[in-house]
Amino acid sequence: MRTTVGGILLLGLGSALAAGCGDEPLGSAEGPPPVAGGTLLVTDDGRWAIASDPDRASIHVVDLERREALHRIELTAADEPGRGVEGADGRVHVVLRRSGEVLTLDPASGEVRERRAVCAAPRGIDVEPDTGGLVVACAEGLLVRLPASGGDRSVTTLEPDLRDVIALSGDRFFLSRFQSAELLLVEGGAIVERMRPPIAESIGFGSATQVPTVAWRTRAHPDGAIMVHQLSTSTQLGTLSVPSGQYYGGDCVTGVVRSAVTVFDAATGPRSAGISGASLVVDLVADESELHFAAASEPGNLLPLNGVRTMRSSMLAGSPACNTAIDPYPLSPSAAIAVALTPSGARVAQYRDPALLRVDGGMGVVDIPLPGGRVEHLGYSLFHEAAGSGATCASCHPEGGDDGHTWLFDIGARRTQTLRGGILQTAPFHWDGEVADVGAVMQGTFVGRMGGEMPRDYELESFGAWMDALPALPAPRIDAGSVDRGRAAFEGAGCADCHTGDRGTNNATTDVGTGGEFQVPALEELAYRAPYLHDGSAGSLADVILTHGRGGTLSDGERTDLEAYLRSR
């Protein structure tokens, strides 16, 4: 008997040891993708809410009448569900940003009806009012139309950096561009008008001019279109000598990056407002009298969550003056990533982690939890954290990439660099290569300029690993023959002497005749991130090829092929 009891004791102790002594990681190995926002759709009848959830590789179908999550469509991390639209037949179409497809589902049954390949990087989606067909805007610059009756798609090549699409009647579309925050009017397959939000004058530290960047979301509006975007300072800044917290971003009174909203009104011209007290505003929806914003910044020690904010439409003016958002939710459960309205005017907001939909129908607030559990990740949180200034890393590196902006520092013009594609392999960092590691980057930028608190070592480790795992955008599909010839030209012209390895950089700081010694940039996402070079002085890849290295010695055909090769990386 004693032997038996002793055995039980030892077995129990062993089991307890095995269960209790694990050391948990600070987030999953790959981690959630950077926030993209605008992932919520409410159907026209107000019955269903379709919430794309890239953090949990899922699409949730929520019954708004019963106030419960009814279906969860599980995908893979390689899909990344994004924007959705409801078709005339009541089915819902959701773009899969990474797998390059459009997924069609029946909200009542939760069944996936179809997955169709559309392009390398689909972003916006809409239904054409005249035909009922789908139209998809792709980041590589394609406008893809899918007939409602099935059949072959038609593709129009426009400009890279496309984001949202609004289908108008008569073969016309509004298309927004992400980094440049432009609104394109496309008619008959050609760009017929190009609009931008107005330039702003900051009244913060000195006078500063701010230009529109990063159009997170553009929606249809009774007056035309409405866009939530950022404003970035285009006058000179300090670099190492800047006072702490100079990169104010959450407050529109000061700051080098701030959020703003612009209505493109064909009759009166654009009307704008700065959004005060909200960081990383990634989605909006407008009703007759109010604008509702989703602010996706993660909480910091110094700034709380923003959640959903509301502004009166009357605050929109000719220039993006400073306006204070009103009516914040009393307690935000987590960062808000999308917001929508039901036909009855109820506001539905999608919160990220914990994942839930919050329905405010005027009769009180109801939270509807979404399944899938928590996706906490220290690296993600730090990247999206509102530092003391309110700015986040994602403000200038939206979706882990770049804002396309060229900053005027006292040391010269420096274009924001992308972080995707394996950033740790490219150390030292910054164009001048003066920053050795992630810790030094955070000390100089996050703490020195943005006013944040210096992260601990374990945060930096998680942060670096998370960033390093961000995949580069998929290259557009380009003629293989041209790519092969371009590769030969690349090697023949000596480009490969510096642009070596998988990422296309030897990480050296080199003078190639562009105005000084700069880091050899990695050659990824080149199809997506004009302008080029350290100062953004090359508007196209053709300009890059002509202006440095031995590109100028190539024939026209070789340069065309070389450009195709670079775009294919």
Partner: protein, 250 residues
């Protein structure tokens, strides 16, 4: 006879529950009153003729049944015999209550203890125990670099000043404990203080050589917190509900 024995088994702890001190006094009084009780007894066997054994009367409200005193084993009433005993105990319990990162358990615990009787044949004991316990650790990452992890490991010292036998089979213990609990953090770990109280009702088996018990109480579970200012420790109350097995060392 069986009914009487069962009744004795049930009545004795009941009396002791209501008034343990009275139970002791009753036992002593009964021991002193044995000759008087013998007036009701009769010899059972030839061997018993040499020594007149007392009988004990039990009434179930219908009739009276007499049981030989040696069947009640009054002299070995509180088993195991002796003043000091050492033993080992394994406890498994759930931890209901509390929010993340506090988990539901289970907590597993191995304890060594010593029981000391206040008097050699008394019902009252005093137990001292030292224990090592393990439970699943959980973590939350609320943002701003904060890591909160609950403690998976605790070293506990425990004292049961109230521990008394309820008849031959049951023992009730009420105690408190304190100690230290450890929780890992990304840059190392931290020790937190440990406090608890524990109530235990044990069923003694095999003449007191082993026991199974149910237990309940409250423990302050440690939660280590790392943020950009440093590491610290918090404690959060959690209920403890479970059971244990134990046996006395030879």
């Amino acid at each position: 006879m069986v009914l009487a024995r069962s009744t004795a088994i049930l009545l004795t702890p009941l009396v002791a529950v209501l008034c343990p001190l009275a139970a002791q006094a009753q036992a002593q009084a009964q021991a002193q009153a044995q000759p008087a009780a013998s007036e009701l007894s009769a010899p059972r066997s030839a061997a018993a003729d040499a020594v007149e054994l007392p009988l004990r009367s039990f009434s179930d409200g219908v009739g009276v049944e007499e049981v030989a005193w040696d069947d009640t084993r009054l002299e070995t009433h509180y088993l195991p015999l002796g003043a000091v005993h050492f033993g080992l105990q394994l406890r498994v319990a759930a931890l209901p209550g509390g929010s993340a990162p506090l988990g539901l358990g289970p907590v597993g615990e191995l304890a060594g203890f010593v029981d000391v009787r206040y008097r050699p044949r008394g019902a009252w004991r005093f137990r001292l125990a030292v224990a090592v316990s393990l439970q699943p650790s959980a973590q939350i990452l609320p943002g701003a670099g904060v890591v909160q992890r609950s403690s998976p490991l605790a070293l506990r010292s425990r004292v049961f000043p109230v521990a008394f036998d309820l008849g031959q089979l049951l023992t009730l213990r009420i105690g408190v404990g304190m100690g230290a609990q450890w929780a890992s953090l990304p840059d190392g770990g931290i020790w937190c203080p440990m406090f608890e109280n524990l109530e235990e009702l044990a069923l003694r088996l095999f003449d007191g050589l082993a026991e199974v018990a149910i237990s309940g109480g409250v423990q302050l579970t440690g939660v280590a917190v790392a943020n950009r200012s440093g590491d610290s420790c918090e404690t959060h109350p959690q209920a403890v509900l479970g059971g244990s097995i134990a046996y006395m060392l030879p």
